[in-house]
Amino acid sequence: MSLRIYLPGDTTAVALGADEVAAALLEQASKRSLSIELVRNGSRGMFYLEPLLEMEHQGQRIAFGPVSAGDIPGLLDALAGDAAQHALYLGATEDIPWLKGQQRLTFARAGLGDPLSLAHYRSLDGFAGLEKSLQLTPQAIVTEVTESGLRGRGGAAFPAGIKWQTVLDTPASQKFIVCNADEGDSGAFADRLLMEADPYQLIEGMILAGLAVGATRGYIYLRSEYPKALDTLNAAIAIAQEHAYLGDNICGSGKSFHLAVRVGAGAYICGEETALLDSLEGKRGMVRVKPPLPAIEGLFGQPTLVHNVLTLAAATTVLAKGAAFYQDFGVGRSRGTLTLQLAGNIRCGGLVELPYGTSLRQVIEEFGGGSYSGRPIRAIQAGGPLGAYLPHSMWDTPLDYEAFAAMGAMLGHGGMVVFDDTVDMSTQARFAMEFCAVESCGKCTPCRIGSTRGVEVIDRIIARQEPAANRELLLDLCDTLEQGSLCAMGGLTPMPVRSALHHFPEDFG
């Protein structure tokens, strides 16, 4: 009997040496005439344990991690005897508290098997949402999404149902589904993880969105920084086409949906939906004035449903299990589950999926396990480079869009970047302005020029030149950026700057 071993082919796992571990494993197995079946699965998101090696043992999967190539001979020896005695033994994967403490809906399948295996996807309820959708009228699908309370996961948290209804209600000869997979926020990797571990879920979400709003073409706009996700998506799309999930006769229904991946070119601004549409049209990624809304005049002037990867993926759960099931998770107007990404200076970083409403402190303490450096944690930047730096006093706020907005912060895409006490918050504030200067599309003056002026003003504050006057000038500049910019790039750059200034004034002289 051959031994089935799982070792992720995920970007982070490979960046930590998973390919070398795989090579060592195959070499040792052949030396020992051991018959093994190596499955390169996606990651379960426990990045602090990668490369995480799992094997089937007495009907369950047991895990070892983090494994390096040099550990393989000893590991194979241990397997012949008492595996539980091995130093890297973690027990049954499902029982690892870090994983067991989560409530996974969107990431339930992540890391369980070969991301490209259709049979595996189907065996775990894959395509259940699509099959259900094929039985429903477009309006019934949209109503299901509306009633689920699903909101856009990209950061803006706009109610998905309103977008779907608008696109459905706008007549056109050609409509589009566009997936925003330009996950540029530092600290965010949930989209990448999903696309690499469970690509069919995204594909299914896009097909059923197409059925719902009457769109027959879709594009995944993927950032060029994700070469592995690109390979996985292209392979998955080809397989889905071969098996008639994509094409002109979806599952024999006579309905069409065509899907292609388009690769970005290293511009953060293209994560903004209208800049993304311009980029898809082959232009500079310049932000558009709204209205017209993309739902009415989007890609090539046609009605377009633009959603983040996780929103489209979550739609499969909504359709497969019903709006009421999804509604049951979460608090207030934040329904369903939130995928937090613990990143930066943290011991146990990775992806944590939980219903909305838990506090940040709970997540950091229960899952994070303190800083990676071992020093005290000083600040957490929530929601990406345009999000606020939160001091300890703000960590008890429930993870919910409205609660975060009320304290001048945002959940954004759920990336949480942890900093220890060596961080200098004036440097971080300066970087926020610098990043805006580098990545601004240039359309709005406050964003294009104000960001460069912001760097200069912060430099003067750091150099103690008229600090009081320059602080006032900086706050004034922040107001101008916030009020005078078309999109979130200029509009939210003040958030990290103000929060650093407000909560950590001691770092500004």
Binding site: P227, G282, G350, V417
Partner: protein
């Protein structure tokens, strides 16, 4: 095939693709390593665009280059998660070791150094990318090993 032939072939391939300019530029850069400024006119006429539009797109996106890069491209993540794990020191170390700044290429043509804003590997920072492979938890010593593997001596091993 000459550079002109490669460009003509690619233009032919993408001229009818809607919004095809970005895929076309990626394809050309994939073939020859950069977008030759002399090819802008051919691209523009093939796609029925103005030369200004094509130049505007090439210069807008960080990925597109108008001159050849070194044999390897080393990108260091400058974003916040990597900053929290010491990427600022790593950047300084890379510049000192290679003797070049961002946008530069080492004299032997082996390595071009570029900044990147997030590789999506933020739980295991600092991250660097070399060509299409991403490396996690890279400190100065690990970077030295990676750089050594990219120089002539390392490559011939």
């Amino acid at each position: 095939m000459s550079i002109q032939q490669v460009i003509a072939k690619r233009v032919q391939e993408y001229r009818d693709v809607s919004g095809g300019l970005l895929p076309l530029l990626h394809a050309i850069q994939g073939d020859i390593g950069y977008i030759p400024p002399a090819s802008v006119a051919a691209i523009a006429s093939g796609l029925n665009l103005s030369r200004a539009e094509v130049h505007g797109v090439i210069s807008f996106y960080h990925d597109f280059r108008s001159a050849p890069a070194g044999r390897h491209v080393l990108q260091i993540c400058r974003a916040e998660a990597c900053q929290s794990m010491g990427s600022r020191e790593l950047e300084a170390h890379a510049r000192n070791t290679l003797g070049i700044d961002y946008g530069g290429t080492t004299a032997d043509g082996a390595i071009s150094l570029e900044p990147v804003y997030c590789l999506g590997n933020c739980a295991c920072s600092p991250s660097v990318r070399i060509d299409d492979s991403i490396h996690a938890r890279v400190d100065a010593a690990a970077l030295d090993v990676l750089i050594a593997s990219l120089t002539d001596a390392g490559e011939s091993k």
